[in-house]
């Protein structure tokens, strides 16, 4: 199986879907001529032409609004945000219009839009460019929120997202764009709302998603070798719908939980998970639910400090040892 990058996997998914369905279009700042700020859309303009790969002005409220409107008329737009951090500029379009239209129209109008782009910190671009908006997005009924952790997942999940009839917010981790993984050339889909056990273990369940999956896998190796702690890693893949069944099955097996997320800790995805786990698996817990999140401060510009602010393998190892104590 060929090894390709996370960035290429997303590009393959876009190309596949552009080929499969002529209603699919790609819009965003610099996605056509400049091939995207992170070069995800490289080559698409040449292959699919300027009618389907469209550069937009730097005006999130405007072009996201256009995409939402187009999706209501049967187009399937895939909108690229240069940074997910700018979603708040188009808050009304994303969460008031896209998320609500199916409900407000009594099911007559749906909004099959995908909004994708890089999210998260770790690239030393400061507090205004390092948001983790998944909890804010997932708070709204009517939407789907996807955060792939590997190249394989990114391709399969994006293809499902484009085919979904509801607004799907697809959060890519900037740092993962260069990560390679095995991705088959042939067609495959990963359903939205299905978590994946990335590693089997017996002593502790780490529930996580996105880049923290990669950190957790590294931490798990060390925990196994040096601390004799066998870690099971559940990758949520989709924040909403949330596959709580897979999480609970793992918790019932290991009886201990550590949630790792790149969110700020207050009212995060981890907070919700923590509530659901304690409610559904209370009698299976052998200790309190532990949580490791980004340090509760705006993203710090200083590169060495930002590394410590985010979850990283060392912080995960420390938290895991506490969780099984």
């Amino acid at each position: 199986m060929p090894q390709i990058t996370y960035r290429e996997a997303i590009r393959h998914a876009l190309a596949d879907e552009l080929t499969r369905d002529e209603n699919v279009v790609v819009l965003g700042e610099e996605v056509a001529n400049f091939h995207g700020a992170y070069k995800v859309t490289e080559g698409l303009l040449e292959k699919f032409g300027p009618k389907r790969i469209v550069d937009t002005p730097i005006s999130e409220a405007g072009f996201i609004g256009m995409g939402v409107g187009a999706s209501m008329l049967g187009i399937r737009p895939v909108m690229e945000l240069m940074f997910w951090s700018f979603y708040s500029v188009a808050f009304d379009q994303i969460l008031n219009n896209a998320a609500n239209v199916r409900y407000m129209s009594g099911g007559q109008i749906c909004c099959p839009i995908v909004i994708r782009g890089p999210a998260n910190g770790g690239t030393n671009v400061g507090a205004t460019h390092s948001h983790t908006p998944e909890n804010v997005l997932a708070n709204h009924p009517g939407v789907k929120v996807v955060v792939p952790s590997t190249a394989y997942d990114a391709k399969g999940l994006l293809k499902s997202a484009i085919r979904d009839n509801d607004p799907v917010f697809f959060l890519e981790n900037t740092i993962l764009y260069g990560e390679k993984g095995e991705v088959p050339d042939e067609e495959y889909l990963i359903p939205l709302g299905k978590a994946d056990v990335k590693r089997e273990g017996t002593d502790l369940t780490i529930v996580t998603y996105g880049r923290s999956v990669i950190h957790s896998l590294k931490a798990a190796e060390v925990l196994e070798k040096e601390h004799d702690i066998s870690v099971e890693i559940v990758d949520l893949r989709t924040i909403r719908p949330l596959d709580i069944d897979t999480v609970l099955a793992s918790v019932k097996k290991t009886n201990r939980v550590l949630i790792v997320e790149e969110q700020k800790p207050f009212a995060s995805v981890g907070s919700q998970l923590s509530h659901m786990i304690q409610r559904e698996a209370f009698d299976h817990l052998d200790g309190p639910i532990h949580r490791l999140a980004t340090v509760d401060a705006p993203a710090i510009y200083s590169p060495p400090v930002e590394v410590e602010q985010l979850p990283n393998p060392n912080r995960i190892i420390k938290a895991a040892i506490e969780a099984v104590a």
């Binding site: 009886n255 209370f282 009698d283 299976h284 817990l285 052998d286 200790g287 104590a325």
Partner: protein, 443 residues
């Protein structure tokens, strides 16, 4: 002025109580209705409720002590108030020895009629010997235990208060419960003989020693319950002139009806026992021969207006007789559900006084243990008790032919001061009629 809380009288036969554990500690703020401690009476372990608002200023008696009724337990008042145990009411365990001399209790409660199987005396489980058992926790200290460990401990019958926790802050976790189970320490109560640290060799599948003593000789302090049983049995057999009457009953119709009903009730999750029918039959027989439903009161005999039928439940360290109230007005189905619930509560030692007092007649059944016939000891102030034996397969004569059948023998022990043999015979004949035509119990 601080309120001194004393050992209350929690059952009508109680003279002393054992403070099992404190649920609050000195300095805790208390509101009326707060449970302060658990107290073991002769019948059950009950919670001690506080009726005052304030702060728990002082605990006079540590957990584990046995105290007479009225002995001071603790003081509740305003923080800073000076409190001392009131003089003349020692809070020492010695108080327990001075059992107040009382006349035979008027109570109808009773741990104790039949000669139910006496369990081998269990050693006190307090001294926890094994590695995973814990030193006694400070009074009122909450046991820190994970939800999983709590569930496991309950499933395995392990008392968490005797397990040392290895988790953060001493929390008991799964591994601690499993270790305690393996080491056999910390079993809850004295429930299972193998787990109590009894010196007898547990059966391990062939490794049983054929030589040596049966068990190590030892003396075990008498529990509250055992003491009350002893006292009341002596009272019963030395003050009541007994009369015994027995009768053999054809059990086949009853067994057939029971099987038929149970098949029908399977979906409802109800299984009627032979004893449920016996309880119902007794209630009906008491209606037909009411003289048996009575009590000797010295210068008068009291005839009861309802059949509150008690039944003996064997516990590991004694027995108790929960009461099915107004059994004469209840169906077998209702009696079954009620008896099952009471039986479970009795085994858990959770019976409330109202649930084991007020019986007017008692049934002791050893049939389920294969005993064909026995006599039971009257539980004063009742004037009778019925001992029920097992249904036994044997040759019987029907229509002049010897055929195989099933019979059960019941024995009535009666107080001859209250009624005579003929009345006992009438009662047993009524009972025989009802059990041999069980349809009569269903109308």
């Amino acid at each position: 002025m601080a309120q001194i809380i004393e050992m209350p009288k929690l059952s009508d036969t109680m003279t002393v109580g054992t403070l099992v554990k404190w649920l609050k500690k000195e300095g805790d703020v208390i509101t009326a209705g707060t449970m302060l401690a658990e107290v073991e009476t002769d019948k059950a372990t009950m919670e001690l409720e506080c009726f005052y608002d304030g702060t728990l200023l002082k605990i006079f008696a540590p957990a584990g002590t046995q105290l007479a009724i009225g002995a001071p337990l603790c003081a509740v008042g305003k923080p800073g108030e000076n409190v001392e145990a009131p003089a003349g009411k020692p809070a020492s365990p010695a108080a327990a020895k001075e059992e107040p001399k009382k006349d035979a209790p008027k109570s109808e409660s009773a741990p104790a009629p039949a000669k139910a199987p006496e369990s081998v005396p269990q050693p006190e489980t307090k001294p926890a010997a094994a590695a995973h058992s814990a030193p006694a926790r400070a009074d009122g200290e909450r046991v820190k235990i994970s939800p999983l460990a709590k569930k496991l401990a309950a499933e395995k019958g392990i008392d968490p208060s005797r397990v040392t926790g290895s988790g953060p802050g001493g929390r008991i976790v799964r591994a601690d419960v499993l270790a305690a189970e393996k080491s056999g320490s910390a079993k809850a109560g004295s429930a299972k003989p193998a787990a109590t640290g009894a010196p007898s060799t547990p059966f391990t599948g062939g490794a049983v020693s054929r030589t040596g003593p049966i068990q190590e000789e030892r003396a075990v302090p008498v529990s509250n319950m055992r003491a009350v049983i002893a006292k009341r049995m002596v009272e019963s057999t030395t003050t009541i002139p007994y009369i015994y009457v027995d009768i053999e009953i054809d059990a086949e119709p009853l067994l057939a009806v029971r099987q038929q009903l149970n098949t029908g009730l399977e979906k409802e999750g109800v299984k009627l026992s032979v004893n449920d029918f016996v309880l119902k039959a007794c209630a009906e027989a008491l209606r037909r021969v009411p003289a048996v439903n009575s009590s000797w009161e010295g210068n008068q005999i009291r005839y009861f207006g309802a059949a509150h039928v008690a039944f003996a439940v064997a516990l590991d360290d004694g027995l108790i007789t929960p009461v099915v109230k107004d059994a004469h007005q209840k169906s077998v189905f209702q009696i079954s559900i009620e008896a099952k619930a009471l039986g479970k509560k009795a085994k858990d030692k959770k019976l409330a006084p109202a649930e084991y007092t007020g019986g007017t007649f008692c049934v002791s059944n050893l049939g389920m243990m294969g005993i064909p016939k026995f006599t039971a000891i009257i539980n004063p102030p009742n004037s009778a008790i019925l001992a029920v034996g097992a249904a036994v397969a044997k040759p019987v004569i029907k229509n002049g032919q010897i055929v195989s059948g099933q019979t059960m023998t019941v024995t009535l022990s009666g107080d001859h001061r209250v009624f005579d043999g003929a009345v006992g015979a009438q009662f047993l004949n009524a009972l025989k009629t009802l059990i041999e035509s069980p349809a009569l119990l269903l109308v």
